[in-house]
């Protein structure tokens, strides 16, 4: 008897721990949707305890070292799906070329959660508030997905179909996230939370820009917690490209980003507050990235 389990009992299921990616892919293919994949387990364990999911099997992919890495592949930064947020936050490469992702990684949950939670899991879980999603949108990242006899590359924004609904099929695994290394780009991430640490974002924003001759050569803005999925602020991003950097331009881009977002009111914040904060954070990040300073 284990009273510890009593407070949140876990139902019985088959536990499988593949040692290679191929083995893992054949297992998920075989179970055809009645298995759940566990990586860090920071989302799945809660669902299991509350009997919200009742899988026949749980496939533990933590043994797949082949998809746990961060590397510079000559012009492309590649992050294995099993890489934890703690590893991302500590990576020199990420801090140099994708600071927004390092900032977001540092703000995911607590130390304990960051030690377990993986980037692949954060994408697969498809929360509209996922802190890892907005930086990847601003970096124009792609997701590499494999199944037993297929593989495909999906732009990060197309991974999110709805609240907690991703484009990943039940016979597939995310193996990698990658994006182009841009020496001229500069990105930042910021959020509004209900406290200073370990909190779900009320709004989070990532902005990635590169400047040439005082003009925006490239710009991408990602918005979180302001729609059914993480959003790419397409109009605001495109508005900036080719424009001379100025306070007026920045302010206008922030307003367009606000108009592109579509938040709901819930117990974490109202629609009207979220809209105001999209504008404020976008403007603040653009100012900081354009003119320097702290964000």
């Amino acid at each position: 008897m284990k009273p510890f389990q009593y407070l949140s009992p876990i139902q019985e299921f088959e536990y499988l721990k593949p040692r290679t990616l191929d083995e893992a892919l054949s297992i998920v293919s075989k179970f055809n949707g009645v298995a759940k994949v566990i990586a860090g387990g920071t989302d799945l364990t809660i669902a299991l305890k509350e009997l919200l999911v009742k899988p026949q099997a749980v496939v533990d992919i933590n043994g797949l070292k082949e998809i746990r890495y961060i590397r510079d592949d000559g012009g492309i930064i590649r992050i294995g799906a099993l890489t934890t947020f703690d590893e991302i936050y500590r990576s020199g490469l990420i801090n140099k070329y994708a600071r927004c992702l390092a900032q977001a990684a540092y703000n995911v949950g607590t130390w304990q959660i960051r030690n377990l939670a993986t980037l692949g899991g954060n994408i697969a879980n498809a929360s509209p508030a996922a802190d890892g999603a907005t930086p990847l949108i601003s970096l124009d990242a792609h997701v590499h997905i494999k199944s037993i006899n297929n593989e495909r590359d999906v732009p990060i924004i197309d991974m999110f179909l709805g609240p907690k609904k991703s484009a990943l099929n039940s016979n597939e695994l995310i193996t990698e996230v990658y994006f182009k290394k841009d020496e001229l780009a500069n990105c930042g991430w910021a959020r509004i939370g209900r406290r200073n640490a370990n909190t779900i974002s009320v709004v989070n924003v990532a902005v990635n820009i590169s400047l040439a001759d005082g003009k925006y050569r490239a710009a991408r803005i990602g918005l979180g917690s302001v729609g059914p999925t993480p959003l790419y602020a397409k109009k605001a991003s495109e508005y900036l490209i080719g424009k001379e950097a100025s306070s007026a331009t920045i302010s206008q881009a922030a307003k367009i980003a606000m108009d592109e977002s579509n938040p709901i009111s819930d117990i974490r914040g109202t629609k009207i507050y979220r809209l105001s904060m999209v504008k404020y954070l976008t403007e603040k990040l653009l100012n900081n990235l354009t003119y320097g300073g702290i964000n």
Binding site: K2, P3, L7, P9, R194, R195, V202, I267, Y280
Partner: protein, 760 residues
């Protein structure tokens, strides 16, 4: 009482319970794994207000692993619980009054079976109109939640003539102030293990008041059992939340154990805990304060409305405390204060650290700053002009004696916080959009229960056969460090080594009822009883040793680990030797004491006059904030707290109480609240119920002003509650200073402050 040298500031905190807790070795209720217990789960109401037409347990009973499904028909005694007023069914019979109310129990061999069966109990309801806020409850055509109507309790205090005083006042400030729920969020959720014994039941659980649990179990089991024994297990936090909630939890476990004849464990996960246990009362206050142009207060008219939820819980006493300290520590010649607690179809509200005062002090202290602004006067100066002092008469006619340290607290906190310099400098927005502010609040809190309840304490101190001095007191340790404090008292009173003193966990079969562990009374009342029992123990052991050593008692001295002759120190016996000789002689060496704190206090309800408390603790707090005016985000950066809780027995423990109170108050001020939709509690986990983390915690600077309290052990007064009381208003006033306008409702979430800045 004796005075002794105070602990020096440099002494290292050494709580006797700390190493077991840090090492994870202390066994809480759910760690008692050697008992093969059945698992109990509660089936709860899904409706805020409804008649129950039927409860179908047939499918639940058939679930594999289920031993029994229990409904109200199975209760052998009275199907009622309630701390003062038994108004809540142990298991709902024909009506439910909030979502989460217990309707049935499932007892199973394993937890998954229990959970599965809970979901298959079918309850058919006939909905009634649900009353979800105070004003709807008071509407004349509102449905009555209980037979007597929707008002639980009211108290009134009147003095002088407010009407004519307002007419003569130069300035009158009027406002409506509102405040949120607060959840206790103790680390350990509720748990109870009940075991059938020959003709009785033994209950072990997480609780603040073992004798209340014993009464609850006796009530519901009635004549079915003879012997009820309640043992407090190590308890991971209470803050008032485990004052009455364990009555229900343990009565459910005991019922399951009685009906199955097997040990039964009932433990809640976080969601269950948040859904059912009583909270801090939300509500509002309408307040009108008059003053002269010189800043002398003239009149106060105030109505306090507390939302008490579906059952009585501790509401009557809470509302009394709100009313009794509505003025704050200020002299106001004319007052008309009324407080009401009302029933609504939501989770009951009851005891929570501060007990009605955080609400009324918020309104009182914010309004003082509004008045100061109107008068163009420094808020501290305004307070000092009106402060109570030795000899002042309180609104209920009580004349204050000695030991009123509020003025010294205010002066000390002003120095610590560099109040004047910062107040000059703050209140402007810098280039980054940050506005700094500094705010102040004072508080007063009566020590112990007062005349509305039985306020007696008791203790037994005895020598066990190994020469250990065993302390028995039914007041409970649930995180305060009270055992460390008691050992300090016994060691000082007897002049013996601390290592020889042992405090044992409460067990109703071997102790007297020392009253509830509430109302900042563990040191002041429990400690006093222990001190007196120690003095009686000293007489007893000296008398026994006198016969053994052959020297008259008054020529003997107790010191360290032995008793020796004063004339001939070599003529000595260790406590161990005395214990084994006593054992052979068939002798008991023991001291007992009862202290009655009701003596000298009274309350006349009709007239609203009396002596509700004999001594008062005081506090003066200052908060310094930074407000991001673009997002409304408030960061508390520095916090200063000065307290008068009489003589401080253990400085390090006292400081810990203040740190904890400040952080809990900071959560209350900035982020904590419960959200409901159609009566359903949405903030039912720590994902959505925010409490502060270290990243939200400011630098906290603490100091004490040590007055002397005649009634307390070595001059001590209560300290447990007062640290939370000035926090929300101090932060409110700091925000007011930063942004230039008062916000009369909290928590001060970013969104609320942002809206205020936008002018909503």
């Amino acid at each position: 009482m004796a005075t002794i040298e105070l602990e020096t500031k440099s002494e290292v905190l050494r709580r006797i319970d700390v190493s077991e807790k840090v090492a994870g070795k202390l066994r809480y209720t759910t760690d008692m794994i050697e008992v093969e217990a059945l698992y109990v789960k509660v089936v709860r109401s899904a409706m805020p207000h409804a008649m129950i037409e039927s409860i179908d347990i047939s499918q639940a009973k058939e679930t594999p692993g289920v031993i029994r499904v229990i409904t109200s028909h199975d209760v052998p005694g009275e199907n009622l619980i309630g701390f003062f007023t038994r108004d809540q069914p142990l298991l709902a019979e024909d009506r439910v009054r909030f979502i989460g109310e217990a309707v049935a129990l499932v007892v199973a061999e394993n937890p998954v079976s229990a959970m599965t069966a809970v979901n298959s109990v079918k309850i058919s309801y006939k909905p009634l109109p649900a009353i979800l806020d105070i004003d709807s409850a008071l509407s004349p055509d509102a449905i009555k939640i209980h037979e007597d109507g929707n008002i639980k309790e009211s108290f009134v205090i009147k003095k002088g003539n407010v009407e004519s005083a307002f007419e003569k006042s130069d300035i009158v400030i009027e406002g409506r102030y509102s405040f949120p729920y607060q959840e206790h969020a103790y680390l350990e959720t509720e748990a109870c293990l009940a075991m059938p014994t020959e003709g009785g039941i033994t209950v072990i659980g997480s609780m603040q008041v073992p004798f209340a649990v014993e009464r609850a179990v006796r009530t519901v089991l009635g004549n079915a059992v003879n012997k009820v024994r309640v043992i407090q297990a190590p308890t991971g936090g209470g803050f008032g939340g485990k004052e009455d909630a364990p009555d229900e939890v343990c009565a459910h476990a005991a019922l399951a154990a009685y009906l199955t004849g097997r040990p039964a464990l009932l433990a809640y996960n976080r969601k269950e805990s948040i859904i059912f246990h009583p909270k801090r009362h939300p509500g509002y206050i309408k307040r009108k304060l008059g003053a002269t142009r010189d800043g002398i207060l003239t009149a106060l008219s105030e109505t306090i409305m507390l939302d008490g939820g579906a059952y009585m819980s501790l509401t009557p006493r809470v509302i009394f405390q709100s009313v009794a300290t509505a003025t704050g520590p200020y002299l106001i010649p004319n007052v008309d204060i009324e407080g009401k607690g009302v029933y609504t179809n939501k989770v009951p509200c009851g005891a929570f650290r501060g007990f009605g005062k955080p609400q009324s002090q918020f309104a009182a202290e914010l309004q003082m700053d509004e008045l100061a602004k109107e008068l163009k006067m420094d808020p501290l100066e305004l307070r000092l002009k009106n402060l109570i002092k030795e000899g002042s008469e309180l609104p209920w006619g009580q004349r204050l004696g000695d030991g009123i340290g509020i003025l010294q607290c205010a002066i000390r906190v002003k120095e610590m916080a560099e109040w004047e310099e910062k107040r000059q400098k703050y209140g402007v927005v810098d280039s980054k959009g940050i506005a700094r502010g500094i705010g102040l609040a004072l508080a007063m809190h009566g020590t112990s229960i007062g005349p509305l309840g039985i306020d007696v304490g008791s203790a037994i101190i005895e020598l066990d056969e190994n020469g250990k001095i065993v302390v028995k007191n039914s007041l409970t340790e649930y995180g305060q460090g009270i055992y460390t404090g008691w050992i300090e008292i016994v060691s000082r009173a007897l002049n013996v080594d601390k290592g020889l003193i042992e405090v044992i966990y409460p067990d109703t079969s071997i102790m007297y009822d020392s009253g509830p562990t509430v109302a900042s009374r563990s040191t002041a009342v429990g400690g006093r009883a222990i001190y007196e029992a120690a003095i009686n123990f000293k007489s007893a052991i000296l008398k026994a040793a006198s016969q053994m050593i052959g020297v008259k008692p008054h020529r003997l001295s107790l010191e360290g680990d032995s008793i020796k002759s004063i004339e001939n120190p070599n003529n000595r016996l260790s406590l161990k030797d005395i214990a084994s000789m006593a054992r052979k002689n068939g002798q008991t060496i023991k001291g007992e004491a009862w202290v009655n704190m009701n003596q000298g206090s009274y309350w006349d309800r009709e007239k609203g006059r009396g002596v509700p408390w004999k001594s008062y603790s005081f506090a003066a707090h200052v908060a310094e904030v930074e407000v991001d005016i673009n997002s409304g985000k408030v960061n508390v950066v520095n916090y200063y707290a000065v307290h008068d809780s009489g003589k401080i027995l253990k400085r390090s423990l006292a400081e810990s109480q203040v740190y904890g109170g400040v952080v809990q108050g900071l959560g209350y001020a900035l982020m904590e609240d419960l959200h409901f939709k159609d009566g359903k509690l949405l903030s039912n986990s720590f994902l959505d119920y925010m409490i502060p983390t270290f990243a939200d915690t400011p630098n906290i600077y603490v100091d004490f002003i040590e007055t002397y309290n005649e009634d307390g052990p070595f001059g001590a007064k209560g300290l447990g509650e007062v640290p939370i009381e000035p926090v929300a208003p101090a932060i409110a006033n700091a925000i007011y200073n930063a942004i230039g306008k008062p916000i009369r409702a909290f928590p001060f979430t970013s969104e609320r402050v942002f809206s205020a800045l936008q002018g909503d």
